[in-house]
Symmetry: C2
Subunit: 408 residues, 2 copies
């Protein structure tokens, strides 16, 4: 008998038909004696619908009224799942964030979970109930309904698993697990049995949409084993946990890529203390987040400074950079929207030298031009032109033998 | 400066466009210095949509999960109205039933308001906020979300008006007020300036859909002046309050009719103690509500027993009656679906004799056949064949001079 917190996303509960499928799966697991807490998102598309209504009545919807509005979507899905379970003869109770004891702090629309009062939840579980909890929401100390920001349902699930001491937290999605690369780019990509939290963090941060970054951080902090599974398949998915012994030999977990960035360069600026701040200060003030940053000092004592931002911020960032370039007497400012970031991720890099050079060699042999490089302890990222994406991922997948089992 | 609790029904907030119109009206009233609490229903059609989802996952949706589901509709409308008001620069806060301090008791889906804790509401009103409250819902002592049953938003508004000591409770609908008769039947029907609670109760109970019966009872109990107004017109509507001095002369307030009933008759049963109970007992056990009841004793010592039920219950009631008729040795059991009930309502009946005979005479002159009669202190109801409805209402409207002002 296991104790699981399971989270189903919006696509898994997008229709009453899908909800019934989820209910049948839960009913079966409950019959087998498992202790079950289920966290749900709003039915697919509902949150966007509510947001669009808000924008029809207000040019800048926000504050606690927006929280109240958005939190209603999850109430519908949890109530329907509880009704479906009850109709199957499975004892079930639906709880809102407040009723589940989820206390939050911080600003409206982006609250953080501060504490969970488990009494009610534990009482219902002890009675043998399946407890269905609204994801993405809680209540602050003044009794206001709050939301955790987009994707917050993953965080709700992990926080509940940590607080209740569940054996595993299952994140049901529309994919079978985490893959060595995007199967649409690499047909021989393989589902990974295991990943460490660190690896998953790098994968998430790189645009892999399987898990929310914040929920992985949370799981790592409280050491909650996470399992990514398909809501409508039957596989064992991918387990994300702390480093296991049989992972020591492994080198590369997978290849992630991110198409959402654009690159900006300012070249021929005087290399002196404070120049990076002079360049990035105005960008930060405009609320633009910067991802990769690379600085080279040339032979003439001037520096080239390149960084990436989200594509949505590209035009604004370029405008700011052109002004800064003028002030600094830069030789040139330019940018490129058609780039992708491709990253090798794996805890094995720590103990295996030469990964970077093997990577660069393989890309060079394939004729792929690298325009930026950035490395961390368990990741090497390169920026390449968007047309090279497929070649780049396929070459690296083959070079590091990712189609072969890693976890044997 | 007045203090009003205003309630807008589902049709008044059926679209974001209509919500914006309501927001503009409220903003104007707030600018004039009025103290405003606004109670909203779910956007038109939303409650039916949620119910249909529930029926897709459960053959018998009910309990607190259904309450949770249905209560989400009002959260959407109140959040949107608060956002719309804020966008107009009008300080506004949306409160759920729980947040507004509405404590309920009784069973799920049909809870009753037990108590209202005004602290939070009064605090917000003192800050100059427009407070937007979700109708139809509250929280019970165990923290469960409850709903008050269909039409419960009217009751929420009246209860808040009573509890907060508002000057008037405004019920905004899609009609201009309460009329002397249905204007679709009587073109010269006139909007009433005043009605007493008792008159409104009789009108509501007779199928006039303007106000919920329960909310009128509540208003009478706590002496809250109610005003029925059009959400998109500019008239002064109809004020419903306790008997005023200038009403003493008035005779008839108006004519109500109800097409939702059907009539059943069992004739030639032995007239003996307990026979009514033998007939109505099985009907009540089948959860069928009986409205009018008439019993005549014939010359042969047998009785004819006629009563009305909702048309939806007609077939079931007739089946039960045929069985009972067999057991009692009745001469005949029969029924008629094509009937209507037409009622004269007015507190003036108390002090004016001869109203009934004037009514019957006028109907006889018009060739209308009456099949049942029932009277109360301020109401005379007749059951006639459905084809006579229009004639019946028009003749009575003319006979009692209802097109002429009553409240002069």
């Amino acid at each position: 008998m296991s104790f699981w917190v399971q989270k189903y996303g919006g696509t898994s509960v997008a229709s009453t038909e899908k909800l019934l499928t989820v209910a049948e799966r839960l009913h079966e697991q409950h019959s087998q004696g498992h202790r079950l807490v289920v966290v749900l998102s709003a039915m697919g598309g509902e949150t966007d619908h509510l947001l669009s209504l808000a924008r029809q009545v207000s040019s800048e919807p926000g504050g606690s009224a927006l929280d109240l509005l958005l939190s209603s979507g999850e109430r519908v899905s949890i109530a329907l799942l509880a009704l479906a379970l009850q109709a199957l003869g499975c004892p079930a109770t639906a709880l809102t964030g407040r009723q589940a004891g989820i206390l939050t702090e911080g600003q409206a629309n982006k609250a953080r979970i501060k504490n969970i009062d488990n009494d009610r939840l534990n009482g219902l579980l002890d009675e043998g109930q399946v407890v269905v909890v609204a994801g993405f929401q809680g209540m602050d100390e003044s009794g206001r309904v709050t939301t955790l920001g987009r994707g917050g349902s993953d965080t709700t699930a992990v926080a509940l698993a940590a607080s209740l001491g569940a054996d595993e937290c299952h994140i049901y999605t529309d994919v079978e697990g985490v893959y060595t690369a995007d199967p649409r780019l690499v047909p021989e990509a393989r589902r990974l049995e295991h990943l460490t939290y660190e690896e998953m963090l790098e994968m998430s941060g790189l645009g892999s949409k399987v898990l929310q970054l914040r929920s992985v951080l949370f799981a790592e902090k409280y050491n909650v084993p996470l399992r990514v599974l398909s809501a409508f398949g039957s596989g064992s998915g991918t387990l994300i946990s702390k480093e296991a012994e049989n992972m020591e030999q492994a080198t590369i977990a997978g290849i992630a890529h991110n198409r959402d960035e654009a690159q900006l360069t300012i070249s021929g600026v005087q290399d002196m203390p404070g120049v990076a701040a002079r360049i990035l200060g105005p960008i930060a003030e405009a609320q633009i987040e910067v991802d990769m940053i690379v600085q080279n000092v040339g032979q003439d004592g001037t520096a080239d400074f390149t960084f990436t931002v989200h594509r949505n911020d590209y035009a604004k960032a370029l405008e700011i950079l052109e002004q800064v370039g003028g002030e600094l007497g830069a030789r040139e400012t330019c940018g490129n929207r058609d780039i992708v970031k491709v990253s090798l991720v794996g805890v094995g890099m720590r103990s295996h030298a030469g990964i970077a050079s093997r990577m660069f060699r393989a890309l060079a042999d394939a004729g792929v031009n690298i325009s930026m490089i950035s490395t961390s302890e368990i990741k090497i990222s390169v920026v390449v032109g968007e047309p090279s994406l497929e070649t780049c991922v396929q070459v690296l997948h083959k070079e590091f033998g990712l189609a072969d089992a890693r976890d044997a």
